[in-house]
């Protein structure tokens, strides 16, 4: 266990070096945040029917999404791992007494965590001071807040487990482009990052609820803004746990298979 913690620490300290990248990220997130808010505002103004999520809740949802972007984005990737597989540098990893799945998992987790830690606080603090309805406020109750933290953490575990599958697929395809594109486009839609899940038609909502993706972003953020009640949130935690179990088991089984037929590329 200690070695995986060391991998984690190493990747964390590496990730925390990139301060300028984080600053640029913060600026980009504000740009996107305001753009989304403008689009949604126009949408809400043009319609008189009441929507399943209020504009105030949706704005908060957008800010949370921007703050924790690295917790929810599937396109966030570690090129080094792809390179290791395609160039054969994975040879070194394979001659260590290390479980590759756990090692990469620790590494990816640390990367997302360090990136998000650098980015989320400036966004959270600044948006908290924005005038209503454009700012971020506190969740309705402390219970909502606790449930938000729990589901966000479990969501992070899910998203890393999903992205592990992209990395494993590269053993077969030798190019990350395809899997990345498919998973990130589909995944982002199904997480409600493009159209918020509450605004989707009922049929689509059913489909979205069937996949693990919405449990990484839609669930925690909507708990925070109070769009999901405590009952539903509690049940969702168990669904998250089930997905974590399924995704990690599948990933471990798959990587074992992949390593059996691995060809270490290039001499």
């Amino acid at each position: 266990m200690k070695q995986y913690f060391s991998f984690f620490k190493m990747s964390m300290s590496k990730g925390l070096q990139y301060r300028i990248a984080a600053l640029a990220g913060v600026a980009t997130q504000f740009f996107f945040g305001f753009t989304f808010i403008m689009i949604f505002e126009a949408f809400y103004r043009s319609s008189n029917t009441p929507q399943p999520i209020s504009i105030e809740q949706l704005i908060q949802f957008v800010w949370l999404q921007q703050s924790f972007l690295l917790f929810v984005m599937l396109w966030f990737r570690d090129m080094e791992i792809f390179d290791k597989i395609t160039t054969g540098n994975i040879a070194y990893e394979l001659c260590r007494p290390t479980d590759i799945y756990s090692y990469w998992y620790a590494r990816l987790l640390a990367q997302r965590l360090s990136g998000a830690l650098l980015r989320c606080f400036p966004i959270l603090i600044i948006t908290a001071f924005l005038p209503a309805p454009y700012g971020l406020s506190f969740p309705p109750t402390i219970v909502h807040f606790i449930l938000f933290i729990i589901t966000l953490t479990l969501g992070l575990i899910i998203i890393v487990a999903i992205s592990m599958l992209i990395y494993i697929s590269v053993f077969y395809t030798l190019s990350p482009t395809g899997s990345l594109l498919i998973v990130s486009v589909l995944g982002e839609f199904l997480s409600g990052l493009i159209i918020p899940v509450p605004l989707m038609p009922p049929m689509l909502k059913k489909i979205v609820y069937f996949f693990p993706f919405r449990y990484t972003s839609d669930l925690p953020f909507r708990i925070y803004v109070g769009n999901i009640d405590i009952n539903e949130a509690t049940i969702s935690i168990f669904i998250q746990l089930a997905w974590i179990f399924i995704l990690i088991m599948f990933g471990k089984w798959w990587i074992k298979r992949a390593l059996k037929k691995v060809v270490v590329q290039g001499g």
């Binding site: 190493m10 040879a91 394979l94 290390t98 479980d99």
Partner: protein, 325 residues
């Protein structure tokens, strides 16, 4: 210690001709050929040996190393290292081995070398004391003290390679696989690395398997060589025996007082003659060097003599030719 029996491994390789049309064709109907990287490879290596594993490019050297270090699965055959089958219990197996792939890097690119080392300490769960001892030994004999705090990306190739070798030895492995460890090193670093390999072989009884294209490495380190070509073991034997078998001629170069007639000596061929220097090619199966020198001294007044045997490179070339690989 290392028993390799009848290992075979083949790879599927995608083939296509150049040109747009063939690219299109192979997109629809890809063609593969099977390349037999290893066919029936067997050898035994006992503790404390240094074995040079040589062969031309594409002979299957790296493939063998990858199989016995547990990275690749062979198609058939078995292999026991310290009574363990590498690919069956990879994690247990790799604790006892150290591997250096000369053309790859195991150090973390953008952190100081010592950070990578500390990480390896945790990976192999090395005891603090033995880690410190090993680190001291490595930094002294590989001259690393200055380098440890430098980020890997700022090291030169030779410096990095020394750190790579050190990294593979931190956990005091019983067996060390070196896959072209001196690739790209300058003469001084090469000698440092060679001396170091000798030292750990002597002091820690580490078994070393070395693949290289640098015959000086082989000559300096390995008593035994295994020659592999087209995936088969062609020769497995003592380096000096091989030399006496294949080095059948020597060159004798004599500097002498100025003379005008060419000296004639039996069983030799004249390579070069000037008034002050004569060079003979001596056939060792018919005569020997001392006879040649004594008969030469009858003709001329010898000032200086040098005797050269063919370099080991040529021996290897001959071996390759003999097996037509």
């Amino acid at each position: 210690m290392i028993e390799v029996k009848a290992l075979s491994k083949s790879f599927k390789v995608a083939k296509r001709d150049n040109g747009m049309f063939s690219t299109l064709k192979s997109f629809i109907n890809p063609q593969f050929t099977t390349v037999n990287a290893l066919t029936d490879v067997s050898f035994n290596i006992s503790e404390g040996e240094i074995v040079g594993y040589i062969g031309p490019n594409g002979a299957g050297k790296s493939t063998t190393i990858k199989i016995i270090s547990g990275i690749l699965l062979p198609d058939s055959g078995t292999c026991k290292i310290l009574n363990r089958i590498p690919w069956e219990n990879r994690k247990e197996h790799v604790k006892n081995i150290g591997v250096v792939f000369g053309q790859r890097s195991q150090l973390w690119w953008d952190v100081p070398v010592i950070d990578s080392f500390n990480l390896l300490k945790d990976i192999y769960s090395i005891e603090k004391q033995s880690y410190n001892e090993m680190l001291d030994l490595l930094s002294i004999s590989l001259n690393l003290t200055e380098l440890l705090k430098t980020p890997v990306r700022q090291l030169s190739l030779g410096q990095r390679m020394r750190c790579e070798i050190a990294a593979s030895l931190l956990h005091s492995p019983k067996i060390l696989f070196l896959d072209e460890p001196t690739i790209g090193l300058d003469a001084v670093s090469k000698i440092e690395v060679r001396n170091f390999i000798k030292t750990i072989n002597k002091e820690k009884k580490t078994t070393v398997i070395l693949t290289t294209h640098d015959m000086n490495d082989i000559e300096a380190l390995a008593k035994r060589i295994i020659l592999i070509g087209k995936g088969k073991v062609l020769q497995d034997g003592n380096l000096s025996q091989l030399k006496s078998k294949y080095i059948t001629r020597k060159t004798v170069c004599i500097d002498h007082n100025p003379i005008d007639t060419i000296p004639k000596i039996e069983n030799t061929e004249l390579v070069e003659f000037t008034r002050e220097r004569t060079i003979f090619d001596v056939d060792l199966s018919k005569t020997n060097v001392s006879k040649v020198i004594s008969s030469a001294s009858e003709y001329v007044e010898i000032k200086d003599i040098s005797v050269d045997s063919r370099p080991i490179e040529e021996l290897i070339v001959e071996l390759y030719k003999e097996y037509s690989i």
